[in-house]
Symmetry: C2
Subunit: 223 residues, 2 copies
């Protein structure tokens, strides 16, 4: 289904250089991520990426065939670790509301760790084409299904027959989370956990709803 995004074309490991093949590729992709996050994929020239990565222009084409493949690698790796990250943190958590809190905190935490990568994944969704677009869509769909399943369990356990559309609710949450890159900068004002608690609570009970009981979620500050 997926093309293996690095095996196959991957050359033998070079032990002599200071960096291995994978390390070098990561280094270039990281620089590319920052450039794309700053100026957008369309205006991010390969020359600018090469300069940021301190590699020659032609030298980059040793690691990927094209600019679009470069973007694909960035998005694929980011979405993969985002998904894997969420699955790990969800492990052992059974309570639906707590699963939702874990999901929100995981997403915001990942965003805080690598803002540039998540911005590229949120903002440049349509830049890929053909099979590369489909592969990414498949990954995104897994993330969507995981989240929607949590929301459905919250519905069933807390508000059966509530009348809210699960798809609308899920997309509303993704909208809130994917819009973070436009305004949220982690810092003392809004810590990751504090913001995650606020958004979770907002999504659960709204701006005039009751505060959910339990949970060590202090309203103004977090632990």
């Amino acid at each position: 289904m997926f093309e293996s995004f690095e095996a196959g074309a991957k050359p033998g490991v070079t032990t002599g250089g200071r960096e291995s093949y994978d390390e070098r590729l990561n280094h270039i992709l990281e620089a590319a991520t920052n450039v794309i996050a700053r100026v957008g994929y369309g205006h991010a020239s390969m020359r600018a990426v090469a300069k940021a990565a301190q590699v020659s222009l032609a030298g980059m084409y040793h690691y990927f065939d094209s600019k679009e493949k470069m973007l694909f690698l960035i998005q694929f790796r980011t979405f993969n670790s985002l998904l894997q990250n969420l699955r790990e943190k969800l492990h052992g958590v059974e309570e639906p509301v707590e699963q939702l809190r874990v999901m929100v905190r995981s997403h915001i935490g990942y965003f805080a760790t690598d803002m540039a990568a998540l911005k590229v994944c949120s903002h440049e969704l349509d830049a890929l084409t053909g099979s590369r677009y489909e592969d990414l869509r498949h990954l995104r769909h897994q993330y969507y299904e995981l989240t929607r399943a949590i929301i459905e369990r919250v519905f069933q356990s807390r508000a059966p027959g509530g009348g809210l559309d699960e798809h609308v609710a899920t997309m509303a949450l993704f909208g809130t989370l994917n819009w973070l890159y436009r305004w949220y900068r982690p810092g003392p004002d809004y810590s990751v956990n504090g913001l995650a608690n606020q958004i979770t609570r907002l999504f659960l009970t709204g701006i005039i709803g009751l505060k959910p009981a339990a949970d060590g979620s202090a309203s103004s500050a977090e632990s």
Copy 2:
């Protein structure tokens, strides 16, 4: 404060042609909006816009100095009418919760009317530079302040001392609304009013909160 975005450089009205200057400009901007919404500002070439508007490439530069100015005109006009639209619909509505409902319905309704324009305004926010960016930021800020004031009134009237951050709540709502262009297509499944009611309710009372009784009538959320 603003540069008048059409006066000053506006030539005299030509009465002879089939279209006036303004009509012609609108026609070109409309075509440009559709192209940019489809392929993104970075990949939308002036040649593609010219072809879509059925104008020669050079002929477009009679209506604006540059590609960036073209994008500015699109965003400026869209945000202006979005803002004016909201102010009109808010006229005479006093109840905070109803004001919020009007705001959400107005935004979604505008989106349904001109999806391409609102997509361009949501997605190409950073493509402008310098004073043009500042002018747009000022407009967006007005829209933000208007919405935030409504949210604050809802807080005060329904959930005083609730502990939620107004800025977070406002940006969460904008995230939900600005993300619509990625998934929402108006139709029989989700009508504008239906979706607006769902999102308003979700924002007010969350996915497990109480359903607010009917419409503007007070739903006692205390206890």
